[in-house]
């Protein structure tokens, strides 16, 4: 499950058109330190919402700063559904 989510997340980050090299992104380093800017992040979160049928409230956004955090967040939200 985590791998599926991780693969999909990788596609979403790539599609967002970030200047980050999506092949070498580190899972536990903040995306903002790897070339993903605030506009990319808005796009990534929207695509996560649409792909995983979630609504991500603004108050959760700061927690979603690394790939690991995002994958766990999606997994937990799916369990709640």
């Amino acid at each position: 499950m985590i791998n599926d989510i991780g693969d999909k997340l990788g596609e979403i980050i790539k599609e967002a058109g970030s200047r980050a090299d999506t092949e070498t992104l580190k899972k536990d380093i903040p995306l903002s330190e790897q070339g993903v800017d605030s506009l990319d992040m808005a796009n990534i979160l929207l695509n996560i919402e649409e792909s995983f049928n979630l609504k991500i409230p603004d108050e959760d956004v700061n927690k979603l700063n690394t790939i690991t955090n995002i994958v766990h967040y999606i997994k937990n939200r799916q369990k709640e559904q």
Partner: protein, 311 residues
Amino acid sequence: MIGITVIGSYIPEKRISNYGRKAEFDIDDYFIEKKIGVRQVAVKDESEDTSDLCVRAFERLVKKVNIDKNQIEVAAVVTQNPDRNIPHTSAIVHGKLGLPESCASFDISHGCSGFIYGLSLMQSFMRENDFKKGLLFTCDPYSKIIDKKDKNTCLLFGDAATVTLISDKPCYVTGKFTFGTIGKEYKELSCADNRLYMNGRAVFNFSAKYVPEDINSLLKENGLSFDDIDQFIFHQGSKYIVDTISKRLGLDSKRVVFDAYDYGNTVSSSIPIILEKEMAKRENNYMVLSGFGVGLSWASVVVKKFQEDIK
């Protein structure tokens, strides 16, 4: 047949460069050029008010076409940053231009969708009253309400004004319009205590979700396909939002304009500034205009070159 005859635009000369704000806002050239797409924003002189910018736009218009002011039957101003609360800015513009006493005037309170709303309202008003010539102004100088320390807004918004002559001798006529409002999210782009606030994520989500759907509906309503459209003119919120909408619609970047590099997001003036240039190109028979933002709202229309021999 009433329609768009000619457009005049005024962009103030003064600029604030975003390159000079890189350290303050922790941004770089890539972010400026490839993401927000705004290298500098146009700013009006402090001595100029909204009505003055409208007058400047009219001066540009009369350099392009002879206009007998005595024949103007209605003047409307799209703005949410009027000269003052009372009266309507269109009355002040009317006075400064010396329009005839028989000329109607009203303001339209709308933001980024305002030009499209203005086209629909003006044409309806003119048809109802059998008017032949009207002036539709757009002018929303956000420099009046921008917090210069707010990265979300101060790097994006610029000042400008436009005026569109709507008459019975059109160059372009409008097809069916589409409109929409998500009023429950009005606070996400709003002004309180004379300070602009924008929730960038909420406005991005709104634009990326609703505008592509609306464009599909618009084309269906007008019996047109994407291949029929020569140019898509989206509100210039930022380069990133224009690119995102284009990508979601699968549009070739050659058919989508981004022009705000050197003046910024001019709210209701963003579409007519570009339309003025695109109307001059012979190949543009059909164009889609789409405004979205404040409200949150959207409004779109297809304009077609006024020739009897095209569909």
